[in-house]
């Protein structure tokens, strides 16, 4: 009993550690005082202001477009690459996997700088496209690493069986392989989207002066003080994702119930 209590408390302490800053940011979004350091009473003011703040809204749009499209393109490229790698011999597969690991293990600052050097060397103006290309690059490994384990579990004969029964390779892929690996593809997409959304360092080096994502916008305000509207926006985003996840989890458990009865 005592042991269980200690274990529960330990998990609770770590969760407090991880979520305390988030709680503080949510509290700050309702703070009437413009200063981060003192509490000026409860207000919804910043939530109303947020939608009139064009700089923040455009940074939000850029962030979401880049996160969505980079996650999508990375998912397509990564899933295709994972399927191909799964069918390869050991040596080429190991080489490709090592290259895949580079952006995950390398420091963000080095990845960011080296990508910037390439764009500049190609006389490519830094801006939206360079950020998008960079995000796709660091997102692909997350997709591959999510899809790979699912491919390993796959029975290779189902694909052949489908083809023996007259399915074209493409049809067999969509009907047989994709449904089996879909959880991996989905979690790869979700992970890529999250990583893109949360990235600062690589965006910082590849963005050029013209555009801002939320991260880079926040960084420019670190010294002069964060605008409270940003707290409001992050609170909305965080709560949205939280609710979505709760909903998905609920649906997941509801689905399982009838199965168990049978």
């Amino acid at each position: 009993m005592v042991k269980k209590f200690v274990e529960r408390s330990y998990i609770a302490l770590i969760l407090i550690f991880l979520y305390a800053p988030i709680g503080i940011l949510i509290v700050l979004s309702f703070n009437a005082s413009k200063s981060r350091a003192k509490w000026g009473g409860f207000t919804f003011h910043w939530y109303q202001e947020l939608f009139h703040n064009e700089a923040i809204m455009s940074a939000l749009t850029t962030t979401l477009i880049i996160a969505l499209s980079s996650a999508f393109i990375a998912t397509v490229l990564g899933t295709a690459a994972a399927i191909a790698m799964n069918g390869m011999n050991k040596t080429p597969r190991t080489i490709l996997m090592s290259i895949t690991n580079i952006p995950m293990l390398n420091a963000d600052i080095v990845t960011g700088i080296s990508l910037m050097l390439v764009f500049v060397a190609l006389k490519f103006t830094l801006g939206f496209t360079s950020v998008l290309l960079s995000h796709i690059t660091f997102n692909i490994p997350y997709v591959i690493l999510s899809v790979m384990p699912k491919l390993r579990q796959l029975n290779p004969h189902t694909f052949e069986a489908a083809q023996d029964l007259g399915a074209s390779p493409l049809y067999a892929f969509f009907k047989v392989i994709l449904p089996d690996i879909f959880p991996g593809v989905l979690s790869g997409f979700f992970l890529a989207f999250t990583m893109s959304l949360d990235d600062f360092v690589i965006t910082h080096f590849t963005k050029g002066p013209e555009i801002n994502t939320l991260s880079t916008k926040i960084y420019t305000e670190v010294r002069k003080g964060i605008k409270p509207e940003i707290y409001a926006l992050s609170t909305i985003m965080f709560i949205t994702v939280l609710l979505l996840l709760v909903l998905i989890n609920r649906r997941g458990t509801e689905k399982k119930v009838p199965l168990r009865k049978v």
Binding site: S146, Y219, V241
Partner: protein, 293 residues
């Protein structure tokens, strides 16, 4: 071609061999990826090496690299090494028991645990670090709590301690996840066998569980050590302007347009990164990196 021939030989009719060629032909699916990674991973690395070893007139030089022995740069590198080693050790000490407990609780799905650890990333990483200013500063949350109990105030903000805390906070999930992922895969029968043969808790842990979890520990260590060593954001936000890490130096060089110097110093950093990658790949041969998440 060899593989193709073998396949054809083994099949009974020509129709089937055609289909097997299809199965084997999925290799082309990796071409876009190979081109992409060459263009955006390999070429950039070659370029950073080129910049690091040349001067503004494109002449070959080691000057950018030897700049690391400049007192300011050297101190920044040593401080970064010290702080990142501390934060990696703290992460390991916090994460290992957590991973063991999580493994025991047998949550209905391990994706739930992954979600709980990833969810904070939906609050921007810079903002979460800024929130630590609120917690740590002179009249912040911690000192308010201490004052309530009439305890002396702590002065943490703008010290190396604050930076270590920020590193541990930001990178702890990257230590927990790999260890947890290795622990759930350990065969229960192996543990039971050890107990049947008379091993006590301590022996089971030292001889069975810990050695088997080593790949996860190693990949956790690299995933915390590398970003801690190279960060410039955490030190900017929690260290004030006085504490400079090697990441800050490099970022500043690029901001000032000294690309050759910045690249040279990055190459020095990459030596440490490559070193930890080499250790990782030594322990990670079997799993091919799939245990990271």
């Amino acid at each position: 071609m060899n593989v193709l021939n073998k396949l054809t030989r083994h099949t009974e009719n020509s129709e089937r061999s055609l289909q097997n060629t299809h199965v084997n032909n999925v290799k082309w699916l990796s071409f876009p990826y190979i081109i992409w990674m060459s263009g955006f991973i390999l070429v950039p690395l070659v370029l950073i090496i080129f910049y690091g070893l040349t001067n503004k007139e494109n002449g070959f030089t080691f000057d950018n690299i030897t700049l690391i022995s400049d007192p300011i740069n050297r101190q920044a590198l040593f401080l970064a090494l010290k702080l990142s080693l501390f934060s990696t050790a703290i992460c390991l000490l916090l994460a290992y028991p957590l991973a063991i407990i999580l493994n025991k609780t047998k949550m209905k799905s391990n994706s739930f645990i992954v979600l709980i650890l990833i969810l904070p990333m939906w609050m921007n990483f810079l903002l979460r670090t800024i929130a630590w200013q609120n917690i740590l500063e002179k009249k912040g949350v911690i000192n308010n709590i201490l004052a309530f109990f009439h305890l002396p105030a702590l002065n943490i903000i703008n010290t190396p301690t604050a930076i270590i805390l920020g590193m541990v906070y930001n990178f702890l999930p990257f230590m927990v996840l790999p260890i947890y992922n290795v622990l759930i895969k350990i065969d229960k029968d192996v543990v039971n066998a050890a107990r049947d043969l008379g091993a006590n808790n301590r022996q089971t842990f030292m001889k069975i569980i810990f050695p088997l979890s080593l790949p996860g520990v190693i990949s956790g260590i690299t995933m915390v050590f590398v970003p801690s060593l190279t960060t410039f954001v955490i030190s900017t936000i929690l260290g004030g302007s006085k504490i400079i890490l090697i990441g800050n130096v490099i970022e500043q060089q690029f901001r000032l347009g000294n690309w050759h110097t910045g690249s040279g110093l990055s190459l020095v950093l990459m030596i440490f990164i490559l070193f930890s990658m080499a250790i990782l790949s030594k322990y990670d041969k079997e799993s091919e990196g799939s245990n990271l998440w």
